[in-house]
């Protein structure tokens, strides 16, 4: 019960940060960081995969509604949720089945960096190419996705390290 509450609160905090703060900030040119995907990344590994997919859709849809992007966030976040177990298998011994939760504390910083980095790149590249919806802006979109990913990953690791510190105290 406590765990469900924790994830629900995280959903609202991350969606709030994204909609009210990050969607309104412009960081040098066309960089758009998206940190709400941290919610999907931190869901417990034992959670049924179909539920993770549905939660990912709900999160993506919420962001879509508030940023008038119609389906691109939903689609990219569902893809991220689908590939999550495969990326988790890369960074943990038993495919993550042995882990109670995912975080810097459980995975250590270097494996957490790999895990969140790969998923973030997948999400951002899907997102930006769906947004452009054509290939004649291929190089611009590529740079846009890459720069935004760098900022997103740094922000997510910062947020996660702040939270995990609080828990250990």
């Amino acid at each position: 019960m406590n765990e469900i509450l924790q994830h629900t609160i995280r959903f609202f905090i991350l969606a709030g940060i994204q909609i009210l703060v990050l969607n309104n900030v412009q960081i040098s040119g066309y960089i758009n960081p998206f940190v709400y995907i941290l919610f999907i990344m931190l869901l417990p590994p034992k959670m049924p995969k179909a539920i993770v997919l549905i939660l990912a859709f709900i999160m993506g849809f919420t962001i879509d509604v508030f940023s008038d992007s119609y389906g691109i966030h939903s689609s990219a976040t569902v893809l991220l949720a689908f590939l999550r177990p495969k990326v988790l298998a890369l960074v943990s011994v038993k495919g993550g089945e042995d882990l109670e939760a995912i975080g810097i504390k459980q995975l250590r910083i270097n494996r957490f960096f790999t895990y969140s980095g790969i998923l973030c790149l997948i999400h951002h590249f899907t997102l930006f190419y769906l947004e452009a919806f054509r290939l004649n802006e291929f190089f611009d979109t590529f740079l846009r996705a890459l720069y935004s990913s760098v900022i997103s990953i740094s922000m997510m690791i910062l947020i996660e390290s702040l939270f995990s510190n609080q828990k250990s105290r």
């Binding site: 066309y30 997919l53 849809f61 508030f66 008038d68 992007s69 119609y70 389906g71 569902v78 452009a132």
Partner: protein, 267 residues
């Protein structure tokens, strides 16, 4: 039959994934039909309310600047009224009604930008109306709910605005390449048209969205290739500062129905 269920159960994660992706991509493809209003937009009454509440808080920080801008605009309108000859008070001057609205969500750093305003169908706003500020064109109304509406910004790959040069009257199409919120690109300008840096562009009367003569911007840079029929690129410095929008006007064309009825007879 049991095998079939077993098959579905075994791959249920994959099926859920495919189902959700089809839903999401379906929503995305639907955006390419302008006429249909969409369910999932920030003009929704509940998402509109959340955005408006937040905007009410942040508004206090820009009150001083808004006051100054309104005062300047007042002065401008007063001056213009003094110069207007009485004869021009005919039906063409009254063809457009201005509805003022406040922006509660601004966006200019994405590939496709939409704004949300705090007025909707209850105030007479409809899909396809033009949106301007005192500086020039902002965009076109997209989705409308009773109290809110979304505006497809000029900074959107789906927005094309037909323009003309003030000096030469030649036609061009204004689009945005997604790079800087200060510049847009002008297409379909034939090579014989004289273009100079600093030439002003305004809307033309071809479309029934904007009235003729609303400012868009000035030519900032252009490239010409002798082997092609059209200019390879013309960059236009936009007159509206999209990073700094607070209040806008929605244009209601009273004669739009009449014009559309007439034009549809030709089809």
């Amino acid at each position: 039959m049991r095998n079939l269920f077993a098959f579905f159960f075994r791959y249920h994660v994959f099926f859920v994934f495919i189902l959700l992706e089809i839903t999401a991509i379906g929503m995305l493809i639907q955006t390419h039909h302008y006429q249909y209003s969409r369910f999932a937009s920030s003009s929704n009454s509940w998402s509109g309310q959340i955005l408006e509440q937040f905007n009410n808080v942040t508004d206090y920080f820009s009150l001083k600047k808004i006051n100054r801008l309104l005062a300047e605009e007042n002065a401008l309108i007063r001056n213009r009224n003094l110069q207007l000859p009485a004869l021009e008070e005919n039906i063409y001057k009254n063809q457009h009604q201005y509805i003022s609205a406040k922006i509660i969500k601004n966006s200019y750093n994405k590939r496709n930008n939409y704004l949300t305003i705090n007025k909707g169908s209850m105030h007479g706003i409809e899909n396809g109306m033009g949106v301007i500020t005192e500086d020039g064109v902002v965009g076109i109304i997209r989705d409308v709910s009773p109290n809110y509406a979304t505006v497809m910004s000029l900074l959107n790959k789906n927005t094309i605005i037909s323009t003309r040069f003030i000096k030469s009257n030649h036609f061009g199409e204004l689009i945005w390449d997604g790079k800087s919120h200060q510049f847009a690109q002008l297409n379909s300008v034939e090579k014989y048209v004289p273009v100079n840096v600093g030439d002003s562009l305004v809307t033309n009367s071809f479309s029934n969205i904007f009235p003729e003569g609303i400012t868009l911007g000035t030519v900032n840079r252009f490239e010409r290739d002798e082997n092609k029929n059209f200019y390879t690129s013309i960059e236009v410095a936009l007159s509206v500062d999209f990073s700094n929008l607070n209040y806008i006007y929605v244009l209601k064309d009273k004669l739009k129905d009449e014009r559309m009825k007439l034009e549809s007879k030709n089809e």
